[in-house]
Symmetry: C2
Subunit: 399 residues, 2 copies
């Protein structure tokens, strides 16, 4: 690794501890002067000239030329300077077998750049696999208090996605998240294809929530654990909300399996929609409060209705050559006698008795067709195996 | 009734027996020359001049000047001329206590004119109530083989609609249709407000299907029975499909409660969508084949997701002053501690311990805020009853 790369890693690691996720001023500063100088400014080792100040104001989209945003930022970051030790954080990362992924390195997921000013400073990553291209990542998210229905749909959908080569992204929480991770790990059995990624609101060394510790340990091994906050960081409500933007930005599609009327999963869905990423919602019983959030997304047009993995794949876009969900189901639907008939032939078929036979004249009256139409129609239905001559007349034949 | 009105009634009654529903040539003829002359032409009492012929060709949108469509029509209608007896049909209607509603009379539902060339010739109607304005009509349709879930949702939705002053329109079939009619009749108990309308594919004197005879008798009394085909007519597949267009055109909104991947209810939904009428679909389990048709409508954008009567009313449009479904639910949702907080105050709230108290300096580090922001934020949280001074520091207070 070049000296510059090492300095950038160190600076980004440090800034990711100083700044809360999506700290607009901090991210704008890092983008305007680069992470190394941003760290020096945060440490008050160097000042900010007028030119940098102007570019910062412009990046933040603040109309007047007030100097407050940076002063506020410096005041906000100062209390954390005393304990700042990026070398120690990177050493912890090493001990965990993890790596720091930064925008300047080749393994940076470009999809995150769609977050623009809100793109994370770096990703703290554990797991022996690389992060697959976003086109292969499908996020499944939902309530912590999932129902048996939600768990069952999550398991089926996950299995369908992983067997089609997708990696299932989720948030490592109880309920739908945990079910998605578990089903993904179960499907691939730790093969070369990474089955699941958990994006955490806390450091990747913390197994939160405690009940998912065993699961998160397995993901750290066979899947990938990602966080934008350094090891040791606690999960806070703010970090959960910001973590959701990473799930949405990293994945080609975000699916909400079960969610209450108010649920963090809806926040993830709205992040995805805001980024122009397709969003799916799984319908459920209107009597289940755990589907109310999904129905809300369907109703307000944020999400498209998805019922299985094929629907999700179709929504995810160009990767893969799966048959369309709808087409597959249409192929599976039974062919009915009247499929493909013209209107006169349909009227005629409806008029044909199943048991006793009838005459052309009677069929004319019943079907409302001329005798000529009846005769030619009977010939077509006979060819199609739907009409049969019987007792000097005609009756219906079941195909 | 004027002599002209009587003649028009007689002509339209006769044509509704000669022509199958939506017979394009027949309807165009009646529209170009009027129903009385159309009947004379069908009876070959008068011929068709070039001017009429041209207008007919134009009305049918046929590019070349071929005379075939009318000849085909005449040949199609001829077999039924022998038994044509509109006076007898109108006398049967009288005995049933019914009435013929024609476009020339004041009680014609104007909404049917949206069908343009496919508008019915007349409506054969039973029931002591007038047909309410379309803005108050909501169609609930669905599978004949409904599930307990579908029946329960239909009953709830119907009760919610009828108590809000809506009349529930359906097709008199088994399953969802029957449940909608029954629930509507049960809610209003035969008061002045007509609770339900059944639009049939057969004559209004025939109780089809047989298992719904008792129900249809009650609707003929306390609700309204409508058909475009004369008394005695059998239900055929074609008439079912065409009947669906009447349900869609008459109602302000059409809701599919349960439907398989292929279902007649989808046909009704597509008629409604084709007319620019709003369409709703009730979501259900993705594991239920009886909801697959609803999910199909949601997925392809034909229908909007509706979960209760409030959603349907919102979709139906301007009639009524009900609160929006979503707004009502948002009002009912619990207020959470962090609702309405600014980001710094949210960060601060997350950082406040629930049990032991903490200091401003520690809060600065934990929350990533400057001491000044912490102090002013604590004052706001204290005012909101979310923070409390304790032991020389601060801790969180549950609201």
């Amino acid at each position: 690794m070049s000296r510059e790369q090492q300095e950038l890693r160190l600076a980004r690691a440090a800034l990711s501890r100083l700044f809360e996720p999506s700290d607009a001023v901090g991210l704008a500063l890092a983008s305007v002067v680069g992470p190394r100088d941003a760290l020096r400014i945060a440490r008050r080792e160097i000042g900010v000239g007028t030119a940098v100040h102007c570019r910062l104001i412009e990046a933040l989209g603040i109309p007047d030329g007030s100097r407050r945003p940076l002063e506020d930022g410096l005041a906000r970051w100062a209390p954390r300077l005393r304990d700042l030790a990026p070398e120690r954080d990177l050493a912890s990362l090493d001990r965990l077998g993890g790596r720091l992924v930064i925008p300047e390195s080749a393994d940076w997921p470009e999809a995150l750049d769609d977050l623009q000013q809100a793109a994370p400073l770096c990703l703290w990553v554990r797991g022996r696999h690389d992060i697959p291209p976003s086109a292969r990542l499908a996020a499944l998210v939902g309530s912590r208090d999932s129902t048996p229905y939600g768990s069952s749909v999550t398991a089926d959908m996950t299995a369908g996605l992983t067997t089609r080569g997708y990696t299932v992204v989720s948030g490592g929480a109880y309920g739908i998240d945990a079910q998605a991770h578990r089903a993904a790990l179960a499907t691939t059995g730790g093969g070369s294809h990474v089955s699941t990624i958990a994006i955490l609101a806390c450091g990747i060394d913390r197994y939160y929530p405690a009940g998912n510790e065993e699961l998160l340990r397995v993901i750290a091994d066979d899947g990938v654990l990602i966080s934008e906050v350094p090891p040791g960081s606690s999960p806070t409500r703010w970090r959960f909300l910001q973590r959701n933007r990473l799930i949405a930005a990293l994945s080609a599609v975000t699916v909400v399996v079960e969610a209450r009327w108010r649920s963090g999963a809806l926040n993830t869905a709205h992040h995805a929609a805001g980024l122009g990423r397709p969003v799916g919602a799984v319908p459920g019983s209107v009597q289940s409060i755990n589907s109310a959030g999904c129905h809300r997304l369907l109703r307000d047009g944020t999400a498209v209705c998805v019922t299985d993995a094929a629907d999700v794949v179709e929504l995810a876009g160009p990767f893969g050559t799966e048959p369309l969900g709808d087409r597959a189901r249409a192929d599976a639907a039974p062919v009915l006698d009247h499929d493909g008939l013209t209107v006169p032939d349909l009227l005629l078929l409806d008029g044909l008795p199943v048991r006793a036979s009838t005459t052309v004249d009677k069929l004319s009256v019943v079907a409302g067709l001329s005798p000529r139409e009846v005769i030619s129609g009977l010939a077509r239905l006979e060819l199609a195996g739907l009409a049969i001559r019987a007792g000097g007349g005609w009756r219906r034949e079941r195909r």
